[in-house]
């Protein structure tokens, strides 16, 4: 594997707080990463520094083997789609796309036009008069059609309805299959993006607390469904991270792997194994070292 991004001991300090603390990670070529974490965890700061829009307090960042700061050679191979991008006041979506075509070397105009249709984006309306969702569509279209070798999407779907979000996911995965590239997608909607991302980076209070493939993360736990009594016998003495029950039926997610004895019990009691929710695993790991008071506040991760 060869990495396109190398970050070593990156720290970013603002006057009042540490946004990033000793972050080290590498991002491999042609892969989709989920950059996950709570609000204010440092996701945007990290992506801003990687694209040289913000500066590190200390540490090293290399993109394509070079320092990205003021480096047109490196920057022209990246695209950063912000959560709320600002556009020139008296311009419209058509201007924004025409300009993007000028600056991104792999720009695909046909794809851009197709996406404009699908998102029903009006090209002649002034950008500031577009709805929140339509403004997000401008960014998403630029991010997809630019086909940059590394594309960062920072919560790109603000104001999108479920249909528009699905359109985005479908195009992302389809276009990625045809034109493999590196995509870093930061999101709160973990379960929605769980099937897209191949790697998970979880950042919490400026520190990387998880950096693994999605498969590895999922194999940390099992999710069993079936008769509540049988399940209680199975999970006895294990750490349960999620439990739902309806009458006699329970669904329990527990940490650890299954032994042969466990598998027999599952077969005998007619229990079902279903995929583990990535969201539950991540919510749990971001809560792990929290004070109890914060534990309840997981809304930001859930929707």
């Amino acid at each position: 594997m060869n990495s396109v991004v190398e970050v070593r001991h990156l720290t970013k300090t603002y006057k009042t707080a540490n946004a990033l603390e000793d972050v080290s990670l590498s991002i491999e070529k042609d892969s989709i990463y989920g950059l996950l974490g709570r609000n204010g965890a440092g996701k945007t700061t990290l992506m801003s520094i990687l694209t040289a829009q913000n500066f590190a307090t200390s540490g090293d960042v290399e993109v394509f083997g070079e320092d990205p700061y003021e480096n047109a050679r490196v920057l022209s191979r990246m695209c950063f789609v912000r959560e709320s991008q600002k556009y020139p006041d008296d311009s419209n979506a058509g201007h924004a796309l025409a300009n993007a075509r000028l600056f991104f070397p792999h720009w695909d105009q046909d794809l851009a036009e197709e996406l404009v249709d699908e998102f029903r984006l009006p090209l002649k309306t002034m950008t500031r008069k577009l709805s929140r969702g339509q403004q997000s569509a401008v960014g998403v279209i630029i991010g997809l059609a630019s086909r940059a070798e590394i594309t960062f999407f920072d919560e790109p779907y603000l104001g999108f309805d479920a249909v528009a979000r699905q359109t985005f996911y479908d195009h992302l995965i389809a276009d990625y299959a045809e034109h493999p590239r590196t995509i870093v997608l930061s999101s709160h909607l973990i379960d929605e993006v769980a099937d897209l991302i191949e790697n998970v980076i979880v950042i919490d209070r400026g520190r990387i607390i998880m950096d693994e493939t999605t498969e590895e993360v999922r194999s940390r736990a099992v999710n069993v469904v079936g008769d509540a009594d049988a399940i209680n016998r199975l999970v006895a003495g294990r750490e349960v991270i999620h439990r739902e029950s309806l009458g006699r039926v329970a669904s329990v997610t527990m940490l650890g792997q299954l032994s042969n004895a466990d598998r027999e019990l599952i077969a005998d009691a007619n229990l079902d194994l279903i995929p583990v929710s990535l969201q539950q695993l991540i919510v749990r790991s971001t809560q792990a070292d929290d004070q109890p008071a914060d534990d309840i506040e997981v809304r930001s991760l859930q929707s």
């Binding site: 042609d30 801003s48 694209t51 040289a52 829009q53 913000n54 500066f55 003021e70 480096n71 047109a72 050679r73 920057l75 022209s76 191979r77 990246m78 695209c79 950063f80 789609v81 912000r82 991008q85 600002k86 556009y87 020139p88 006041d89 008296d90 311009s91 201007h95 924004a96 025409a98 300009n99 993007a100 000028l102 600056f103 991104f104 070397p105 792999h106 960014g139 630029i142 086909r147 940059a148 070798e149 045809e178 034109h179 493999p180 590239r181």
Partner: protein
């Protein structure tokens, strides 16, 4: 291998220059800021000035008439400079441009606009010279002091002043974005105090006469060269401020 790799080694050396020219196009996307409002200010002030001249000359007043109103389009370039920064910088970052590309492209766009404005002023001045101030001795663009060195020198003077205003607006907007309104206001007050201190010194040493003599000796074109020096200094200052501006 993948398509992305196939065209990735595409002549990276030719990129930066094209991208800088791209910024010019990006700036001119704001046609309202860069073209229509300046045209409106210039045309509007010209029309108003001429109407006033006409009223004055119709009431039987003789002698050439000059007006300070023609400076308005030049001042307006401070607004153009601030807008070029405020409206476009964040979008230029989203276009993966470097700050240097944004800076050079914006200055180039401003220079093109300034050439346009200066050309209009020179053309009006030539017409005013030829027609004796539209036949009523009213001068808008032709100010004898400015035109001493001929049309080309006058054009250069107008160009330099336009760029000076642009770069001031541009720099103030960068300072505002980087350090906030408080620091911007403080620096404006400090600049005002420094200028006042200079004026006070001139008064105490009774040197105003010398200053006026120097101004007359230097002539408009000489002053334009001083203004050009200031413009270059401000331009460097704004680049240094922009280099560490974050989004």
């Amino acid at each position: 291998m993948t398509a992305a790799i196939d065209h990735s080694p595409h002549s990276p050396t030719s990129r930066p220059k094209n991208r800088t020219l791209g910024v010019v196009r990006l700036q001119f996307t704001n046609t309202q800021t860069f073209v229509w409002v300046p045209v409106l200010v210039l045309g509007g002030v010209w029309l108003i000035t001429l109407t006033i001249y006409w009223i004055i000359s119709a009431s039987g007043v003789d002698g050439p008439m000059y007006s300070g109103g023609s400076q308005a389009p030049l001042w307006y370039f401070a607004v153009v400079g601030a807008q070029a920064m405020n409206l476009t910088f964040y979008f230029s970052q989203a276009m993966s441009l470097t700050r240097r590309e944004f800076y050079l492209g914006s200055l180039l766009a401003a220079a093109m606009s300034a050439v346009g404005v200066s050309a209009v002023f020179v053309a009006l001045g030539v017409i005013e010279q030829a027609t004796g101030g539209y036949g009523m001795g009213g001068y808008f663009a032709y100010l004898p002091w400015v035109w001493e060195g001929g049309p080309l020198a006058a054009g250069i003077i107008y160009f330099v002043l336009t760029m000076l205003w642009f770069i001031l607006g541009f720099w103030f907007a960068i300072v505002n974005k980087r350090f906030g309104a408080l620091i911007l206001t403080l620096s404006l007050i400090v600049i005002a105090l420094v200028l006042l201190a200079g004026a006070a010194r001139l008064s105490f040493e009774q040197a105003w006469g010398e200053l006026w003599m120097w101004l007359a000796d230097t002539q408009a074109i000489g002053l334009a060269l001083w203004a050009l020096g200031l413009t270059v200094i401000f331009a460097m200052g704004s680049y240094l401020t922009l280099r560490r501006l974050t989004t």
